[in-house]
Amino acid sequence: MGKLVYRHGIAERTTHWLWALALLVLFMSGLQIFNAAPYLDASDKSDPQRRVLAMGAATVDGQPVGIVTVFGHAVRTTHLFGFTDDGMGFESARAFPGWLTLPGPQDLADGRRWHLLFAWVLVIAYGVYLIAAGRRGTLREFVLRPSDLPKLWPMQLYYLRLRPEPPPHGTYNPLQKAAYTVVLFGFFPLLIITGLALSPGFDAAVPWLTVVLGGRQFARLWHFVLMVLLLGYFGTHLILVVSTGFWNNMRSMITGWYRLKEHDGVGP
């Protein structure tokens, strides 16, 4: 049995679960908001000529069908996207289904309220985490450094079982460090910034931001793309939490205590 080490301070654990909840609410309420204008344009104002994604319904042979169009390529998605569950026990023309949106049925007003409230929860949890993790030294353990770069590929080979041993590392392996660094210092701030760029009041106060992002509709597209990327990270995160010692991992994020496994180091 490996040694028990104290990995995550109370503030880090609390904020981790808090933003996990916030991201779930933001994801589901964000899809609710998306449903009100179920298309994304790579432009400033809405422009069908620069439409990257559209989700809608059409009638084919007298039957309603759901269609998702990505870069001009249409895919039938009936019952899942475009023509799907309306959250009230029926199906209707709706981009994302009621079971995936918050609140369930079409409700832009409340979707926005949930989204804007939990955006604050995310921002505050994220800020508190950065301070707490910075003070405890956790950030130092997982922020990717140039010296980690040569270890990324060997670590990938180890995950693919093409290499018997992982490269020597500290508390977190190089791929973990890369993922956490990109998510915490890339995805999180960019999601917040692209969200703010959608605000006409913020746009008037900080006009260069929307310009840098390619315009307001483009900011909406970035916001959506970042959500998809974060969703991809979340799926990987869950798989690895389960496959690398579920109870040990859960304990470390609930009580702080983690039992070291073979190859686990301690430190940056």
């Binding site: 309306d86 609140p103 409700d107 832009l108 409340d110 006409p200 009041g201 746009d203 008037a204």
Partner: protein
Amino acid sequence: MKRRLFVASSLASLGLSGCGPIKEALTNGPFGHVLASTDRLNRAVIDTHGMARLYPDSAIDRSFRVNGLDTPSDAAYTRLAGGGFADYRLIVDGLADRPQRLSLAELRASGSLAQTTRHDCVEGWSAIGKWNGPRLSTVLAMAQPKASARYCVFHCFDRDAAGQPYYESLDLHQAAHPQTVLALDLNDAPLDPDHGAPVRLRIPTQLGYKSAKWISRIELAATLDGLYGGGGGYWEDQNYDWYAGI
């Protein structure tokens, strides 16, 4: 058929009844107050600073998207429109020392600001139009607001299917923003009925539902309590935030 915001909203109210007590408790129970509280927080942080971006005329959407409630079709509005709005008077009253009844000619004479700005709908889409009309602050100043006035409330000609009239409100700080105008023209032509003729609000620093169309009267008020649903606007009474800068 035009896609209209109120369709979504009536579906939403159906949803409220269909989804039952959980959503009711979360949305309208004590947690509803928490949900509504970010309105003030967002306003405190973002508020009304800076200027909305101005666009070249080449960016204008010539057929500007129509949204909102149906164009008024009642006898009074139809008669005004039939007469080219010659008989129209914009009433500015309430907590004012010199209430006004302004004709379109008087409004045009009170100064005109042309601005090509982006209109951001709460639904998510954006369109660019050129708006022309006097600054709201100029018109309010003519009425000489009393010191107790904190808000201006826009009463409009349009009503929803249930007969509820549209109304909106700004505080006097938002009203004083130099880009907040009473638009008389869109894209160099007088507003047509579908775009809010003869007078609509245009506030580019907030979402589209604040830019009330078909304005008949501006009331200076000390509070928004007791006015219709108390939310300060037609959509606000249906859970949309009063501060629409975000």
